[in-house]
Amino acid sequence: MSDLTDLTIAEASKALSSKEISSLELTQAHLEAIGSANTALNAFVLTADEQAIEMAKASDARLTKGEGGVLEGIPIGVKDLFCTRGVRTTACSNILDGFTPTYESRVTANLWDAGAVMLGKLSCDEFAMGSSTETSCFGPCINPWRRSGTADKLVPGGSSGGSSTAVAARLCLAATATDTGGSIRQPAALTGTVGLKPTYGRCSRWGIVAFASSLDQAGPITRSVTDAAIMLSAMAGYDRRDTTSVDLPVPDYCAGLDEGIKGLKVGIPAEYRVEGMGAEVDALWQQGIEWAKQAGAEIREVSLPHTKYALPAYYIVAPAEASSNLARYDGVRYGLRVPGSDVIEMYQNTRAAGFGSEVKRRVLIGTYVLSAGYYDAYYLKAQKVRALIKRDFDRAFEDVDVLLTPTTPSPAFALGEKSGDPVEMYLNDILTVTVNMAGLPAVSIPAGLSGEGTPLGLQLIANAFDETTLLRAARALEEAAGPQPAPENWWSTTP
């Protein structure tokens, strides 16, 4: 038996059902790994040791009876944006200081129903606003990858940096994450993991702390495409409590995963060759095209003319929605309260102390673009541009089945490197954000290392609700790319 923490979900499930291993062993191995790694990586903001042990034992009991769901006994991590009953949930913000939900998010409830074991809560950028997990109120999370021959701390991407770190560093088999502008795919690309953002409406948003309601979507970060398919099967589903969730049957995403992409039409959007994209990212893209061709796909050039406007439009829509979604954090019903001489001062003090700089920045931008006289010029304009972006994709998908692009313009950067200029940080999402604006499914898969020895990712985009084709294409490219290296373990305190 190889190291328990190196197993994929698919491998662990097999070992669990054949009683080769128990969920308790598997869970304990991961809790130990977290214990020895967290000082260095700071991925988990809370571990639920006792609960994890209880859940593992219950899974073992079910496995013994030959029962159990698709994730029976699999220990996973949960982004701190998902409300978990009786387990502190903060969105990595001081304003939710000590908040302990009395309810469970629909997506995590689905996972527990499928037999998964919760190890704990994972760090992220505050309210999922960021691309580096540096804005978490628990301090930055550190990428397990380092540039060759250096010990510089790199960011694991964001906002789901805790999720990407924990999966890459073998602290959990998989993690939940959320993607509003690239927050699943970008951290996956920067840590050499698989990050899947499903179609908007595929997973329920009920019980997930809202950032931008029309863009937020939950998905998994895993170490293989197959694992992503397994996780999505459990996470997805219609929820009457989320009016924007879609009442469609959830297909078996694992079925036909290995059928290959012979004859599949793969589109290459010219507009994704953006300014500031490194030569090696471009080379990786060419490599990806080559892999697709060799696998029998048909490559077609496509045009998505409004691509360059997606990011500026996003930086109107997302902050606008966020400024309103975050109005509920007022110190009245939960979380932090900083007293004031009257109720208005209490609000202002609470929100000034509770929100970090990036959140304040976005709340202020959102407030500004919605304020009297500016609505048409900014918000309405952005929603029109958004309609055009969606139309670009609709046209492209008349000709092709999937689109292939790089996930990020560059590999992982160092802590503090991009926190000076907000717009520079925002440009990290330039290749991922279009998909959120159009509500489409997309996946990032690891596809090799940069010249610095850090991971790079390729992104596949499919038409709405066609996760099946998306995952089949991703599986084919994963196969073509071959086994990917794991980061060298420098973080464990116990040898």
Partner: protein, 497 residues
């Protein structure tokens, strides 16, 4: 002519006459079991935060799901106001901070309300009819309640009301007097109660009005208006309008200017005053709620709701006048309250409609007024009162006696028949018995007999004597007939005028 009704309400000032211009925004609580966007109860008077879901308390990650019934109620109301129903409408967020507004925004409808323009016709009696335009009706959430009197320096917040569905019904500035404003709200309330879309209970806050008042010289542009918030009785609406209009005229005549502001009506002082806390310029930053998709209705849904609409007060009034030959004012009084109209219909069925109407507007209203009860809680229901009217019709009791019986019915709840039997109140229609008394009276009063031959109108005196001697039980008609026969007096000419 509507215009006559409008121009007849000018305020005479030193610099000439002023016209009052009034527009009303009425917040009507939708009749529904659960809230607009959650499954918590809308019941009045629950213990603090007991009727609150996680959604109503704006817990992180909670999402609204719309209540179909509230949508239908809004459509029903729109149809009842002869208004345009918008098949596509949009929910927007109205952003502002207040402790009883948990989300930090109210879900409302701004640019695309569910109901567009409509009309209410007011019956202003002597003045005639006044048509008031409805600008729009939209659905929105109610806020919670802050209690300020529980603690010297703290307010207590209860979210039981938070999220209850309201219809905001906005009139055009078509009202020209306090009286018209009062009649408008009363008429709107009547329509809502007929439709069953709002219980109209102003004490419990189910119906509140924001009153916009401005004044101008007739023919001028609209003046600057002040909004008087949350006036919760029809009487106060009238008082607030009159006070506010006079205040504005005085300021303008002194050469001052009206500042557009939100004011509060103080019923104890009978005046309006500026609301300091609302003075800060509001910027609500409306935008479509991204948690909710556009609200779509099919024409079929609208037609179905339309087909199920009850008869509304105007139609009912016309029918009462046409089919039951009621006078306009009587019909107007009977239809003003759906419960009264229904009581009347039950009472008038198979009986003399005007007699039924007279009993309701006379005896019954008088009694209910004394008891401070509404008709739905009347101690005598339509069936019971009907039984009494039937006894009169059969000649078993006289009108006079019936009134006494009614008093007893109110007090004891006993059926009319039982009371009459128990107290021996049946009319004596036995001609022989009455003839005997008549003969006695005639024999004892020769002078009066002389007189009545030349002055037939003094016959009443004989009737009174006979009634007295029979303890009021003789059938007055029979007494009359016998007296006329014996005294040889013909039918009185004016008798049937």
């Amino acid at each position: 002519m509507p215009n006559d009704a409008r121009t007849s309400h000018l305020i005479e000032g030193d610099t000439g006459s002023w016209e009052i211009v009034i527009g009303l925004e009425v917040h009507a609580q939708v009749v529904s079991k659960s809230k607009l966007f959650s499954g918590a109860s809308t019941e009045f008077g629950g213990s603090p935060n007991a009727q609150v879901s996680l959604v109503d308390a704006a817990m992180p990650g909670m999402l609204p799901v719309i209540n179909r019934e509230c949508v239908e109620q809004a459509v029903r109301t729109g149809l009842g106001l002869n208004a345009q129903i918008n098949l596509v409408s949009v929910f927007d967020r109205k952003n502002y901070f207040y402790p009883d507004l948990p989300q930090g925004y109210q879900i409302s409808q701004f640019t695309k309300p569910i109901v567009g323009e409509g009309e209410i016709v007011l019956d202003m009696g002597e003045e005639g009819e006044v048509s008031v335009g409805i600008e729009r009706l939209h659905l929105e959430q109610d806020a919670g309640k802050s209690l300020h009197d529980q603690h010297p320096d703290h307010s207590y917040v209860d979210l039981n009301r938070s999220g209850i569905a309201l219809m905001e019904i906005v009139s055009k500035p078509d009202l020209r007097s306090a009286e018209q404003a009062k009649v408008y709200v009363a008429k709107l309330r009547t329509i809502l109660r007929y439709l069953g879309t709002c219980d109209g209970n102003m004490e419990e806050g189910s119906l509140r009005a924001d009153v916009n008042v401005s004044v101008r010289k007739p023919g001028d542009e609209l003046g600057t208006r002040c909004e008087i918030k949350n006036v919760n009785s029809i009487r106060f609406i009238g008082e607030a309008v009159d006070y506010e209009a006079a205040r504005q005229v005085e300021i303008l005549e002194d050469g001052g200017e009206i500042i557009q502001e939100t004011r509060l009506f103080d019923p104890d002082a009978g005046e309006t005053r500026s609301m300091r806390s609302k003075e800060e310029a509001h910027d609500y930053r409306y935008f479509p709620d991204p948690d909710l998709l556009p609200l779509e209705l099919s024409q079929d849904d609208v037609e179905r709701i339309k087909a199920e609409l009850p008869e509304l007060p105007d139609a009912r009034k016309a029918r009462f006048m046409r089919e039951l030959a009621l006078e306009h004012d009587v019909a107007e009084r009977l239809v003003a309250d759906r419960d009264v109209a229904e009581y009347f219909e039950a009472l008038a069925r198979g009986r003399d409609a005007n007699l039924a109407a007279n009993w309701i507007t006379g005896e019954l209203f008088g009694a209910l007024n004394k008891l401070d009860l509404t008709i739905d809680r009347s101690p005598v229901d339509a069936n019971q009162l009907g039984a009494l009217l039937d006894l009169m019709d059969d000649g078993a009791v006289s009108g006079r006696t019936a009134k006494d019986v009614f008093e007893t019915m109110l007090a004891t709840g006993q059926p009319a028949g039982e009371i009459v039997a128990a107290q021996g109140l049946e009319q004596v229609s036995d001609t022989g018995a009455i003839e005997q008394v008549v003969d006695e009276v005639i024999a004892a009063n020769p002078d009066q007999v002389e007189q009545v031959k030349s002055k037939p109108k003094t016959l009443g005196w004989f009737v009174g004597q006979v009634m007295q001697k029979t303890g009021g039980k003789a059938n007055p008609q029979t007494v009359n007939d016998i007296l006329r026969r014996k005294l040889e007096i013909g039918d009185d000419q004016d008798q049937d005028s």
